[in-house]
């Protein structure tokens, strides 16, 4: 008996820490989501799960607007980052002089914190003093502030996010390319295939697993973390034009102090991310099985 319990005994400190930092916040979030918790009015309390769900999912068009904004941003950034990352990976896959010298520069944006990235781009997009506004003025577009227009605020955010996270795609895809066996490429060359045919018919199909993993990982990450850059660049504005679910959860919890509504938004994100992770896990397990 003691022998059987011994591994559990040794594992227990780690398990306790893990439970306290993962399970407790989750249980507490469930508690918040099912009660009325308003920091500025502690008198309003009590079980109110159905009311809370109705408020967020039925009575607040804001939730669905934020969901749409999140999806638009996620699809836009992941698509662009994948396409650009693939092009850059293919570029760095070939041998050329100075490759090792310039490669680190392409990785630099990824090393910066999103707050710094947001601040840099906010200044670049500033309608009065920003470099972009200056360039637009040079081509005849006067008085334009990208982040002040609902139609272009999302474009500005996409540009900043793509600038920061394309290197992540580049790294994953380049690693995938370098891990491919050489013989199919050599055979294709012997058969007279051109570079585009080799890329389309040999490289891309062989890279499919790494591409799916990279896209899924980045999708999960973008969905989850579409907050810092937006908070700094537009704070969800103008109006609510760039308010994602993460920004909404923050605003409901820490600006409006509706902790229960913030918890529901955050938990809904958790459900979506869990589904994505399940898909990723299933895919990875499937690959191992194969």
């Amino acid at each position: 008996m003691l022998r059987r319990l011994r591994p559990l005994l040794f594992l227990s400190p780690t398990l306790l820490i893990l439970l306290s930092i993962t399970l407790f916040p989750l249980v507490y979030s469930l508690y918040l989501a099912s009660h009325t918790v308003i920091l500025t009015n502690p008198m309003l309390s009590g079980w109110s799960l159905t009311d809370n769900l109705r408020e967020v999912f039925i009575e607040s068009p804001e939730y669905w607007e934020s969901m749409l904004t999140t999806l638009i941003l996620v699809v836009a950034v992941v698509t662009l980052e994948f396409v650009l990352g693939l092009m850059l990976a293919y570029f760095f896959f070939s041998n050329f002089r100075g490759r090792n010298l310039i490669f680190p520069f392409f990785l630099m944006p990824m090393m910066l914190t999103p707050v710094v990235v947001g601040t840099i781009w906010r200044f670049l997009f500033n309608g009065e003093f920003g470099l972009i506004a200056g360039l637009l003025k040079a081509v005849g577009v006067e008085n334009y502030s990208i982040l002040n227009q609902p139609s272009t605020a999302l474009v500005g955010i996409v540009i900043a996010d793509v600038w920061q996270w394309t290197p992540f795609m580049l790294l994953l895809l380049l690693a995938g390319m370098r891990a491919l066996p050489r013989s199919p490429f050599e055979a294709a060359q012997v058969d007279g295939a051109n570079a585009f045919q080799i890329f389309r018919d040999i490289m891309l199909p062989m890279m499919k697993p790494i591409i799916i993993i990279a896209v899924l990982m980045r999708t999960i990450d973008a969905f989850n973390r579409m907050f810092d850059i937006i908070y700094i660049m537009t704070n969800g504005g103008p109006g609510r034009a760039s308010e994602t679910l993460a920004v909404m959860a923050f605003r409901q919890s820490f600006e409006y102090f509706f902790m229960h509504q913030g918890a529901i938004v955050a938990l809904s994100m958790l459900v979506i991310i869990t589904i994505m992770v399940k898909i990723l896990n299933r895919f990875i397990a499937g690959r191992k099985g194969a």
Partner: protein
């Protein structure tokens, strides 16, 4: 405690809190009863005050010195969360070494951006953090902080701590009022501010114009100046400023923001709706017709002032607190080139005899409030008192501050800044034509809700009428969620801060 007695007390506390409209549901614990009872007492206090200024008991000890008072606390470190970017805070910094030297108390200051301050502060306070002893608070947000802060009234009555030369009565009446809550004083003002129109004296002289007295005149002048890379006006369009950007003209036309039941009144009664439409249309036209810099939907008062200081804007309706920046030749191209005037009144017709047709927006003040969790409350009190004392406030004004909280300093240094006479005159508006934001914990949230509707209008997402109705609807929904409309109570003037009785409107 016997069960019957406990139940009776709970029922009593619950009933009274419900009557006051603060309570939706309560548990029956003793703790809850105590909370309810305190709230009930607080509600009565608010109702009985009727917006009056509190007269705290002030100790006056002979021979009091700061060094002697601070002796028991020497070696303590007082941590302050200060608001960034405000000139009076910058002028205060070099003087802190004197306080530290005299008292042996160390002052450690962190800064936080205005727009983020309430969120960050509330997270700390609500979780019982003792990270800061003092919080720099805009008085408009104070009711939200109140449950977590320590009243100063007890310290003021303590002869060992109270500086007899402090001259509490010299703080403007509005500063005293806005830094008190219910029957307690919570902060000493170290700054007092009011929106004043700064305009380019040189441009106006060249164009043979006078400062606008109506909003239509302001628009026409702004349009006249907006050419060749110049702008006529500068809007503060950030979410934290947008509500006031529209309500300043709206109030001056005679509009009201809430009725006495805290029902929002931008869209009703019909005369309010007309004024709100005129005010919203005016600000939207200024933005859409490019009479303001293109990025001004991102401007708070600091950014607006910085843009004005570049020298290509004609008018800057801004808070007096920030004028020190534009009058500083090191930071501004327009230093010494400005004149100051009251904000316009009325849409196209000034009121007879120079009186305003409606009201003015609030006088605001900032101060330092002590956290209940602070372990250095007395040391923190001494620092806060020292900072707002006549001698230090005078040093700060001499150094360049443009928004002193003391009446005697405004009188003594009338000529230092062009806007000081207006600032002084504005103190006389208290209780007459001055709209103050309701003293409720959810001030920031309803302002933000209005700002979202107004910003949507500015960017053309929705029309003017739709924005005004949306603002009222969304605020009503929000206030209902916060539990305000239980029992359909009329709120006392000390809560609504309405300077005139406002007829009840239907909730949207």
């Amino acid at each position: 405690m016997k069960r019957d007695t406990k139940e009776m007390m709970n029922a009593f506390g619950k009933a009274m809190a419900s009557r006051l409209g603060f309570l939706e549901e309560v548990s029956t614990s003793r703790r809850e009863f105590l909370r309810n009872s305190s709230l009930m007492a607080a509600g009565f206090a608010a109702a009985s005050m009727g917006g009056a200024v509190i007269a705290p008991r002030i100790a006056r000890a002979e021979g009091w010195t700061l060094a002697e008072a601070a002796k028991p606390y020497a070696g303590a470190t007082v941590r302050v969360s200060n608001l960034a970017g405000y000139p009076h805070n910058d002028f205060m910094r070099p003087l802190i070494a004197d306080f530290e030297k005299e008292t042996g108390i160390k002052i450690q200051i962190d800064t936080v951006q205005y727009g983020e301050a309430v969120g960050k502060h509330m997270q700390l306070l609500a979780t019982g953090s003792d990270e800061y002893d003092l919080f720099n608070i805009d008085s408009i947000w104070f009711p939200g902080y109140a449950p977590y802060m320590e009243p100063l009234t007890g310290f003021m009555a303590d002869a060992k701590l109270m500086d007899p030369s402090f001259d509490y009565a010299d703080l403007s009446e509005e500063c005293q009022k806005t830094n008190s809550y219910l029957d307690q004083v919570y902060m000493f003002s170290n700054m007092y501010t009011f929106p004043i129109l700064a305009y380019r004296r040189d441009w106006y002289a060249e164009s043979n114009l006078k400062a606008p007295v109506t909003w239509k005149e302001l628009y026409d002048q702004a349009a006249q100046f907006s050419k060749d890379g110049k702008y006529g006006y500068v809007i503060h369009g950030l979410r934290t400023a947008m509500m006031e950007m529209v309500t300043i003209p709206y109030l001056s036309m005679g509009g009201t923001v809430f009725d006495d039941y805290l029902h929002p009144t931008f869209s009703q009664p019909p005369e309010n709706f007309e004024k709100a439409k005129q005010a919203m249309q005016l600000i939207r036209d200024i933005y859409q017709n490019k009479l303001t810099p293109p990025g001004s939907l991102d401007f708070e008062l600091g950014e607006a002032s910085a843009a004005y200081a570049q020298g290509n804007i004609a008018m800057n309706l801004n808070w007096a607190i920030i004028f020190a920046v534009q009058e500083d030749a090191k930071q501004s191209k327009v230093a010494g080139k400005n004149a100051y005037a009251w904000a316009p009144t009325g849409y196209d017709t000034p009121a007879p005899n120079g009186e305003v047709t409606g009201g003015y927006t609030r006088l605001a003040s900032f101060g330092l409030s002590i956290s209940k969790t602070s372990k250095n409350k007395e040391a923190a009190y001494l620092f806060s008192q020292w900072l707002s004392s006549p001698a230090i406030q005078e040093k700060i004004v001499v150094a360049g501050d443009s928004a002193p909280s003391r009446i005697k300093l405004l009188e003594k240094y009338t000529d230092k800044y062009g806007h000081f006479p207006i600032l002084l005159e504005a103190t006389k508006l208290v209780g007459k034509k001055l709209w103050d934001a309701p003293k409720i914990a959810n001030e920031r949230q309803w302002e933000d809700t209005v700002a979202i509707a107004f910003q949507d209008c500015m960017i053309g997402k929705i029309g003017v009428e739709e924005a005004i109705v949306k603002a009222d609807k969304d605020v009503a929904k929000l206030m209902r969620q916060y539990g305000f409309y239980k029992g359909d109570n009329e709120y006392p003037k000390s809560v609504t801060s309405n300077f005139k009785g406002t007829a009840k409107v239907e909730l949207l």
